[in-house]
């Protein structure tokens, strides 16, 4: 298969994670202290490199059929959860994930936390905030790169997509010196949900022994069908929401 769809899919998926990590790092750096924030980021990146080094080769050693079955199932579950959230947000059943309000929450918490020096780090709060933010979002990036790269036998293309996303988001963050609030994050998540569900369903079924009509070309049909079904879900819930009286309560934002 051409590497471009793989690079684009990984790029968009990793960009979403990078935006969330950037919001946390900006909150820590601007309100607390940049030196401790960068130390937290650096330690998180070292942990991520160690995890990638340990897990990556182990996954590569698995037989391709078993790998596709397990990774396909995980990606399909992952993708359907993203789609579910994106559809609920698009139809008002769940509040939109707002980077501006997420940033304000982090800033308020950071401003009220006491300054404490520990283990050679001058501001432990800034360090742990940046560490956790980069590690958690970074783990998702590692998961996406390893699963997509391994399944397509093109880790290099997946790494290019992820690295490009991180660089683009980091440069944009440095340029505006603030969290990226103008990015249509819900629609990016919707698109990523479609891709994860499509690839996951395709690989999972292949791992279960299915021979897809047209082989890899089936993905070119499957992804648009997933998109159409998801769009139909938005239409269905929009009508349901409009027909309901009084207006539906919104589900609490969890991520």
């Amino acid at each position: 298969m051409n590497a471009l769809p793989l690079i684009l899919t990984v790029f968009v998926a990793c960009a979403v994670e990078a935006i969330e990590a950037l919001t946390i790092v900006m909150a820590a750096g601007i309100t607390r202290e940049w030196k401790s924030t960068f130390q937290g980021m650096a330690v998180a990146l070292v942990v991520l490199a160690a995890v990638t080094g340990a897990v990556g080769p182990a996954i590569s050693d698995l037989p391709l059929t078993a790998l596709r079955l397990v990774i396909g199932a995980l990606l399909a579950i992952f993708g359907l959860q993203w789609l579910r959230k994106a559809v609920l947000r698009a139809t008002g059943y769940k509040a939109l994930h707002d980077e501006a309000s997420a940033y304000l929450r982090e800033v308020t918490a950071a401003e009220t936390a006491a300054r404490e020096s520990r283990r050679g780090v001058s501001d432990w709060y800034a360090f742990t905030l940046a560490f956790k933010g980069v590690l958690l979002e970074g783990l998702e990036v590692v998961f996406i790169v390893i699963t997509f790269g391994d399944n397509q036998k093109d880790i290099g293309a997946a790494v290019i997509g992820a690295a490009a996303a991180i660089v683009v988001i980091a440069v944009a963050g440095i340029a505006v010196r603030a969290p990226l609030t103008k990015v249509p994050e819900n629609w990016m998540k919707f698109a990523v949900g479609i891709m994860l569900t499509s690839f996951g369903t395709f690989w999972g079924a292949e791992g279960a022994g299915v021979a897809w009509p047209g082989n890899d070309a089936a993905l070119l049909v499957l992804a648009p069908v997933v998109a159409i079904v998801s769009a139909a879900c938005i239409l269905w819930l929009s009508r349901k929401s409009a027909a309901a009286a009084p207006a539906p309560e919104k589900e609490a934002v969890t991520s």
């Binding site: 992952f78 579910r84 559809v87």
Partner: protein
């Protein structure tokens, strides 16, 4: 103990997410596909997409009908 719980909760949220029924349906769909292919010799490529669409629609229906 709390750290182990937090670690478990993180991975549950990371993989399973807000609705475990979706994960259960996907796993059941894969198992049924494997049975159809290897036991009944039916090339059931259509089954998993149908299960995925049904899981999404059912999960959305469940969460919105409670509102």
């Amino acid at each position: 103990m709390n750290r182990i719980k937090a670690f478990g909760a993180f991975w549950y949220d990371f993989v399973i997410g807000d609705d475990w029924h979706v994960a259960a349906l996907v796993v059941a769909g894969l198992a049924l596909t494997a049975i159809l292919v290897h036991v009944a010799h039916v090339n059931a490529w259509w089954l998993l997409p149908l299960v995925a669409f049904a899981a999404l629609a059912w999960s959305l229906h469940r969460v919105t009908s409670h509102k």
